[in-house]
């Protein structure tokens, strides 16, 4: 017998749960202003989360999936991308979307049940939030195919959760990305839970990073609660893909501190002690500790930031709530580039009957 293949999976962490550097700081992290930008986006994400849940609980927003605890994974991804890359998110990537230019109002509109929430005024080529788990992974390969065929130095970045790695869509997308050497990076945000199914029940694989190996691409693991490390590791994969050296795959380890969505009650299946323990690895607290220790941050800045984030979320929530619903005809008008004649009659009947539904 001879060994025909071996693999190993690296794990990268730079700022640990106590806010101390355990690895070499990348250049960008020596720029306090840049770290503060990332910190600010994480705090804004959390403010948005809190407001979204409050609006849902008072009947003014639909079912909402919180990003609580996963802010660093999303912000790290968004910060690693160039503006003309394309993001294909799942539904807890608020932090990445904010960095891409998606507005808080658009996010409120989306979760509030309005298609205009996916008509991003910036990030025009980014994909909308993807609800069917993992089904956006093949799209990322397709976007990357277009980049490759047109010889554009751009990268598609696809984010999904630990549960998605069990899906055929993800396996097929990874495989074709490897086979065609596509400029795409897959980021698995492993938050430990797929609704009620814990990571260990999801897969017998020792890491979710190693799922990349079978597709012929490197797979690495990163501390997903360390925004600096996420940005570094995802950034390396993105730049590698941009150079034409093929796809990448990163498993970002984090924890879903919230229920799956506002329609979920995690206490039915999850030990609260586990959640309490996970709070010790909170991505926001650790970066704050780091910033404070480095002298770049203090009580006043923190207070100002919280106020500013609250004000920004207030304004966006107000703008969302003041946005009137779309006109009834929009139910039909975006289905095709040109509405087929066969549907025009149905549209007319719909409009005649719509007012009765108020």
């Amino acid at each position: 017998m001879k060994e025909v293949a071996t693999f190993s999976i690296s794990h990268t962490g730079i700022i640990d749960a106590d806010g101390k550097a355990t690895g070499e700081l990348p250049a960008f992290a020596r720029d306090a202003a840049e770290l503060i930008r990332l910190y600010r986006t994480m705090v804004l994400t959390r403010s948005f989360d809190a407001r979204a849940i409050a609006l849902q609980r008072t009947g003014r927003l639909g079912t909402y999936g919180s990003s609580l605890g996963q802010e660093a994974a999303a912000v790290g991804v968004g910060a690693a991308m160039r503006p003309d890359d394309v993001l294909l998110p799942s539904f807890r990537e608020t932090g990445a979307q904010l960095l891409r230019g998606v507005s808080l109002r658009e996010l409120f509109l989306y979760w509030g049940g309005d298609e205009r929430g996916s008509d991003f005024q910036a990030a025009r080529e980014d994909f909308p939030i993807c609800v069917p788990v993992g089904s956006q992974a093949p799209h990322a390969a397709g976007v990357a195919l277009a980049f490759k065929l047109r010889q554009q130095p751009r990268v598609a970045v696809c984010v999904f959760g630990d549960g998605a790695t069990s899906k055929g869509d993800v396996a097929e997308a990874a495989n074709i990305a490897g086979a065609w050497n596509l400029p795409v990076v897959f980021v698995v945000v492993n938050n430990g839970w797929a609704i009620s199914v814990p990571r260990d029940a999801q897969s017998a694989a020792g890491t979710l990073a190693q799922k990349a190996i079978a597709a012929g691409m490197p797979g690495v693991q990163v501390d997903g609660n360390d925004v600096v490390a996420v940005r570094v590791v995802v950034g390396e994969a993105i730049e590698r893909a941009r150079r034409g050296e093929g796809p990448g795959w990163i498993e970002a380890l984090t924890y879903r501190l919230a229920d799956h969505t506002t329609a979920d009650d995690a206490s039915r299946y999850r030990d609260p002690a586990e959640v309490t323990a996970a709070w010790k690895a909170d991505p926001i607290a650790r970066l704050r500790t780091w910033l404070v220790a480095s002298g770049a941050w203090g009580r006043q800045q923190e207070q100002d930031l919280l106020q500013a984030c609250t004000a920004e979320v207030d304004a966006a929530a107000a703008a969302y709530l003041e946005t009137p619903p779309q006109a009834p005809e929009t139910v039909f008008d975006y289905l095709y580039a040109t509405l087929p004649a066969a549907l025009a009659e149905q549209r007319a009947r719909f409009l005649a009957e719509a007012p009765r539904h108020g």
Binding site: S135, A141, V143, L145, A146, G168, E172, N175
Partner: protein, 326 residues
């Protein structure tokens, strides 16, 4: 001009579209060197190169999903599923994404793709190679569903499908792939994607069909003509959107209608045609609308396949019953 089979006409349309528009790319299983298992893409790899004709891994969900992503970037993705029986893993991509991308982004992103696939029975193919899934696709808002019945129509409809800015499921009746040859001018002229075609005029009964069933209807119409019954034949061609006006106008004239489909009866597209006629032409009907369809059973393997396929005898019998009403 050379006479073409449907395979040749489709190949010609693909080549024409690729020549006219550099954004057109083809991919699927064995579409490159092998030219597709039915040879529809034969020679296109040599003509257009490996950047535009790509062999995929054996991966139907990825084929459709990659088409969605590529199309969202503005490529005209023409993706082949080798047989419609293997399309089911791709259906999630078509239903949840291809059909909805324009609508859910309010037109910001769109999906100009064609998902091609051979479908239907009658060629003594193995298990899972002979079904007719068109109604499943026709049920989905946001898709177009197109089925050619002849080489010339295949050429014009394929060009239209590729040029259309929205996703098209293009079902190719493989039984007709090499059944006939006809002159197909390579003139780059597309056919409309929202119209039925009247193939034969007649005043007594309207035969409505698509795909391979058109040939059966023509043979049946000849037999009926021998009995003094003039059948009008309509090729639906584009099931979605369905050109009900043309069918209804014909039935207003004839008062009788037989809808012929190879697919199983229940929930088939023939039912949609019949329901539309019942809603819109009831006063003109002189006989019950009949559906001649595959039986509600699993498609038999080749030794009993012929028993399943709707054929001339069943169509003529249905017309005879319709004519028996005064």
């Amino acid at each position: 001009m050379a006479e073409q089979t449907m395979v040749g006409a489709l190949n010609m349309a693909l080549a024409r579209a690729m020549t006219d528009d550099h954004d057109v790319v083809l991919f699927g299983e064995d579409v490159g060197k092998d030219g597709g298992v039915f040879r529809v893409t034969d020679g296109l790899l040599d003509r257009f190169g490996p950047d535009r004709v790509l062999d995929t891994p054996l991966s139907e969900a990825a084929i459709a999903g990659v088409a969605v992503g590529a199309a969202a970037q503005g490529l005209r993705a023409v993706a082949e599923i080798q047989f419609s029986g293997f399309a089911y893993p791709a259906i999630d991509q078509m239903v949840n994404h291809a059909a909805r991308l324009r609508n859910r982004t309010r037109g910001r992103l769109s999906c100009p793709m064609v998902l091609r696939m051979p479908y239907g029975g009658g060629i003594r193919a193995p298990e899972h190679h002979s079904e007719s899934p068109e109604a499943m696709f026709a049920h989905i808002p946001g898709l177009r569903v197109v089925i050619p019945s002849s080489p010339r129509r295949a050429y014009g409809l394929m060009l239209a499908a590729i040029r259309d800015p929205d996703p098209v499921v293009f079902l190719e009746p493989k039984r007709r792939y090499r059944a006939v040859r006809e002159d197909v001018p390579d003139d780059g002229v597309a056919l409309p994607l929202d119209r039925c075609f009247i193939e034969r005029d007649g005043g007594d009964v309207t035969l409505v069909a698509w795909g391979a069933m058109l040939a059966e209807c023509h043979t049946a119409a000849e037999a009926l003509a021998g009995k003094g019954v003039q059948a009008e034949i309509i090729d639906v061609a584009t099931l979605k959107p369905f050109d009900a006006d043309t069918v209804c106008a014909s039935v207003e004239k004839t008062g009788r209608c037989v809808v012929v489909q190879e697919a199983t009866l229940t929930g088939g597209f023939a039912s949609e045609v019949a329901a539309t006629l019942a809603e819109r032409t009831l006063a003109a009907l002189r006989a019950p609308i009949e559906r001649v369809a595959g039986w509600d059973t699993v498609m038999p393997l080749p030794r009993l396949e012929a028993l399943y396929m709707p054929g001339v005898a069943r169509i003529v019998a249905a017309c005879d019953r319709a004519m028996s009403y005064a």
